[in-house]
Amino acid sequence: MPHSNQTTRVEDILSKHLDGRKCWQARRHLLDTKDLTNAEIDCAMALASEFKKFRSQHLPPMDVLSGKTIANVFYENSTRTRSSFELAAKSLGATVLNFDVGSSSVSKGETILDTARTLASMDIDCIVQRHSSSGSCHQLAQQLGDQLHFVNAGDGWNGHPTQGLLDAFTMLEVLGSLKGAKVSIVGDITHSRVARSNIWLLQKLGAEVHVAGPTTLIPAGLDKLGVKVHYELEPAIKNADFIMALRLQLERQKQGLLASIGEYKKLYRIDHKCLSLAKPNVKVMHPGPLNRGIEITSDLADDPNLSLIETQVKNGVAIRMAVFYLLLNGN
């Protein structure tokens, strides 16, 4: 029985992270990386490691979340992220409902609260939500948190905590510890929930976070939040252990936030050449989807020695399994 072996191994790991597990048991939602404790982070990382091995063995799904129903409610399209959550949930034996927002009454003026209430009435256990408004998942958790678990799959510019966790997990696989590691996030920080979730999490893990981007795309007061801010690429990536390029929304040009895409490429595109400034074993990351040739060169994105982009995607499923397990199993 692969199941029982697997379950025993998972429980073994958790028994080594009792503090973290306790915190997770007291937690009902994953809304932000801001309020995660280091014990919780360590616990999730250890578990994700195990789940990653499990996934690689191509075994039938576990049954630890059988009987649980998880609804993916995505008000912004993202087939990639939704699929990752779906795969994670199914690998643990949960039932998955992909709630079709586009064709539902949401488009007829129903609020996100109405939708969540409807799903709660259907005895759903957990909502995974993506929405364009910062804080939208927090507000739902405040209103319906006693009936449902919420996992924030991206809220406006604010957060995308499972992305933060999977990125940290990926970095930890490379370096073992992030204490003193230099991580540079490059691009549109203002509108990036990936950047924010990474910043809060990486700071907890002891990394030194640098950002670089155009003045128009670095939010006010970021330097007061413990981040080293640069407007030029070179000082940001000098001696960096990791460089994370962010996706550039091409409509920023129309909003007057970018002079031209060409100028952006000249100033901030990550390529093989600029990596000479970084640490010798520097790795390059990107949350996807890529604008090939704009924020990162195609060659670099595909370079198996330098790019962690595919690993990030793989790790995403494992991290999401860990999150579901910790929030829903036994809670």
Binding site: S133, Q142, G221
Partner: protein, 444 residues
Amino acid sequence: MQQSLFIKSVLVVDPANKKQEVMDVRIKDGLIAGCGANLKAEDGDCQIDGKNLWLTPGFVDIHTHLRDLGQSDKEDIQTGTKSAAAGGYTKVLAMANTDPPIDSAPILTLLLKKIEEQACVKVYPVATVTKGMSGEELTPMVDLARMGVQAFSDDGMPVSNLGVLRRAFEHAKLAGRTIISHAEDHDLTAGGCMHEGPQATALGLPGIPYASEAACVAREIEVVRQTGGTLHFGHISTAISVDLIAQAKKQGLKVTADTTPHHLTLSADDIKEYDTSFKMNPPLRTEADQKALVEALVNGTLDAIATDHAPHTKMEKSLPFDKAPFGVIGLETALPLTLEKLVKTKRLTPLQFISLFTDKPSTIIGISPYILKPGEQADLALIDPELSWQYDASKGMSKSCNSPFHLRNMTGKVLLTIAQGKVAYQDELNLSSRISGKLQTATK
């Protein structure tokens, strides 16, 4: 008020009269029948022990959104004026950005009728500066002023065309009325929903920069200089605006300004967990701004405290932070919040403090300040400055409960409000130990 009322040994705080002394006050048939030392109560007087209480002129709020008309689910004239009375206000200036806006004689007539039927305090209507608040064509200011409009404002949708604003000042002068400015540059606000800075960045919310207010204050001051007009800036929120206004006043320009209780007591740091009852426009700024606003009230750069009472329904405020409407209610909490900030800290005397709620705002909008003396119609607030209580927004008189101060412990409370000679509000619970006899609250 048919009955007669005798308030014994109360501290009369009467700014227009520059008087702050303990006396007895007798009110009969809605008029002040006597005030002085050792008055005698008469048979049948309802008596209140006024020891340690303040008796002040009724408060004047020069920035109230009473809503009604197409927005009566948020507030109407009846609930809004009851809320005003509960806060000690007997006169309110009703903002014109209603649905439809108050921009023509027929709509004003409709509003005046509602006020006549439903208001329990005096309501002075404001009309818009431009038709439909489009910032283009001016409203018939002289006509509207004659019908009873007390001030003009495109609050919420500031006039961005300075050419239009110039003509507006000139017409307002002809109409003998003040224009109230909502100083905001919409292009600088650019969809922002809280003060721009580390807090907004940490919450992932678009910010509203200082300059959105200050740049608008600066350019409107120049139009005042050009036209010799008068201008009142409502709800000033930043230290830089305060400096600009101080400078303009020093140069003899006819500008005045107010700020709100929430800008005096909260900052952007207080916004947590996307609570939309902390979302208002202008937004909560920094602690340094808060200090500058207090200083400006102390040194006279700011002339008054106004509530910017802005009710919204629960449903509207349950939208995500970036989508929820701007505004908080404030009539019932203005006194205790600012009392704590300005008097308990000894920054202002009771007389200076009450002045910010009474004669000073009256003067700004051209109402003669109330003086508490025999023969005057009673228009008063009775206040217990020491009473500790907890504010529960859901139990207030307003139809809405969008307050950032919900469940906050307060010191200082209005016990009784008499508006235009009638009892408009009484806190029966807290009056009970002081009162002999029964006061009838007027029904409206």
